[in-house]
Amino acid sequence: MSVLYAYVRLPDFPLERCGYSTEEHLALWEVRHQISKVTVVCDALRAYGIQPGMSTGEARALCHDVILVPRQVDDEREDRRELTRTLHRWGDRVRQDGDEGWILEVGGLMALYGGPEGIADHLRAQLSSLGHRVQVALAEHPMAARILAVTGEPAWSERAAADRLAPLPLEALPAPEHWIDQLIAVGCRTLGDLAALDPASVAGRHGPAGRWWHQVVRGAPGEPWTATEDVQEHPGVAYTFDDEVHDASVLLARLQAMIEACSEGWAHEEAAPEALRLELRLANGEILTKVVRRHQPSRSPGAWMQLWRAALSDGRLPAPVLRVHLWPVGLQRVQSEQLRCGERRKVHEEVDQLVERLRLALGQQTCVQVQAKEAWMPEQRWSEEPGSQGRAPRRDPVQAQEGWRARHAPSAPSRLRRRPRPVQVRLEDGRPVAIRGPRSWAPVQPQEGPIHLRHGWWTPGGGEERCYHRVGSHRGDLSLYERQGLWFHQGWFD
């Protein structure tokens, strides 16, 4: 056997790349037509009736503990490229197929891995070790391997590909829907029924595309591939049409949308390409490549579309198009002030000048520096302006006792209210159990306290005493409360 293809499918890739396991109630959402819609759903959520296309509100209504994560299409595409690079370790004949599949030509690796089963096991083990659920199938034709992987058939069998495909339903074929309907109308139910049809009549009725699909299900081997180029140089966008495209105007409309999408990314990167390369996958299995080039880098969609209209001006395509892939070539920085790697920091303005300028523009109290002070009360342990500490604090007789303050002072909250807010507190055994919110009482969980802080007890007035409590709310966040006769909310531990 000289030609053998492996199809690798990662059905849960968008979920797994987010760092969540497929057992969690995870859904990814995107904004479509100004509505947040769920686009990827894990199996656990499907059991609740949540389907892609629902709004996030509908998803929450069906499952209250759903984890909704915004989908990052750009990052997802970048991760797929990384995975393609990883698969390139298997050889130089690797192609990404759609959003969740990769095809590898592995005919030359059989001796190395002990046959097709060994290749499937190694592929599965490598991708599983990266944290992904994997489906693998091998066949003599890439499309046959894809059909077997998607339908969950065994990865390899000694039987011929046609025999393995024959029992599968006709809907397993990723062909245009109207074509499948035509076959069902003439009595085909399985791929075996399709394979049994006369090749000449299939070609006569359905054209070159029909003949190509017929050859696949009859177990024809695929053409050997040439080595693919390094994917790192070709970050691009791809689109698979729902139906075969015969008209160049449809293709141009899709191209315009793809270039506009790319242009936004290039603007973000402050880069522009010198040329654009287009790869068209045709229904007859061929791949057609076209390149347009400008005399200087540009990210203007209009400028690029002029060139593409000229390149596809005859309006005729050699065969119907199934998929288009667009790559920028020669991306260049277009902003001269972009720092290069290792370049030294450019200090345009010293901190003192900057502070002075901000104070002039916004007011003296807007931009301050903090200075530590020696004091007992938390709010007196710092001052805003350097040199404005005022009178030195009176020497404390307990200061000599090592670590006293460290042991007894409450840990400071990370966020502090500008002024402590008085609150109503319901107590039980001297500890808060509920706090009055804007509408009703909310139960709370006392975490620590009372923490007593007393100073100045050696003075004639008797000094001041405070009492702090760390309290957790029903939402799980921690706050610091102070009791000084009344109760005050001081701040949050965030």
Binding site: E82, L130, Q338, H348
Partner: protein, 201 residues
């Protein structure tokens, strides 16, 4: 169904293997070591020049992460600005944890002034890190901050309770469900996940 395997039980180990297999992202952003192992494991350091975000629900420790970064960097002699439009920064906590106040600039603009102030702080190039706590901005403003950060080779850390995923930041860290998850262009390969305890003290 054959040809299918389940997820490995130890996801963190698998992520580490994935990182080892994949090359580091090619970029012109350098990583300034923060001196805080948990953070450097997660993000590789403080990216410069870049905008990054840290978000999570209230009480998840977002402000604590920013405070720890400010403390570690100021201790190392780096200049840090804390932009605090809600006037809720607590200097007592910063001092209690051992931060160096002479290297910290506390800026308290009105919410309408935040965009301009952050732009000035980033473009000056005198600060290693600008931390913005609890502020909102639109995409156009974020692009202006990105240009300013590149001009001054500075880093903006944006802390908040809402997701910054739509802002196309260099990287962002989500604190949720006991984990810190780093994602974005500045994070090699898939998301990096570490237990929350390793990035919150």
């Amino acid at each position: 169904m054959q040809g299918m395997t389940s997820t490995h039980p130890s996801l963190d180990e698998l992520r580490a293997k994935l990182r080892a297999l994949q090359p580091e992202p090619v970029s012109e952003v350098r990583q300034l070591p923060s001196g805080w192992d948990g953070w450097d494991d997660l993000m590789g350091g403080i990216p410069q020049p870049a905008l990054w975000g840290c978000w999570g629900p209230s009480g998840s420790g977002v402000t604590g992460v920013g405070l720890q970064l400010a403390i570690q960097l100021t201790r190392a002699g780096c200049k840090v600005a804390w932009v605090d439009p809600l006037h809720q920064f607590n200097p007592d906590r910063f001092l209690q944890e051992g931060g160096a106040p002479e290297h910290l600039l506390w800026v308290r603009p009105e919410p309408s002034q935040v965009g301009w102030v952050v732009e000035q702080l980033l473009a000056a190039g005198a600060l290693e890190l600008v931390l913005l706590d609890q502020a909102t901005a639109d995409r156009a403003q974020v692009q202006r901050w990105q240009r300013a950060a590149r001009k001054g080779a500075s880093s903006l850390g944006w802390l908040g309770h809402r997701s910054f995923a739509s802002m196309r930041l260099w990287a962002h860290v989500e604190l949720r469900s006991g984990r810190a998850i780093a994602r974005g262009r500045g994070v090699a390969g898939a998301a990096r996940t570490v237990p929350l305890e390793s990035v919150i003290r």
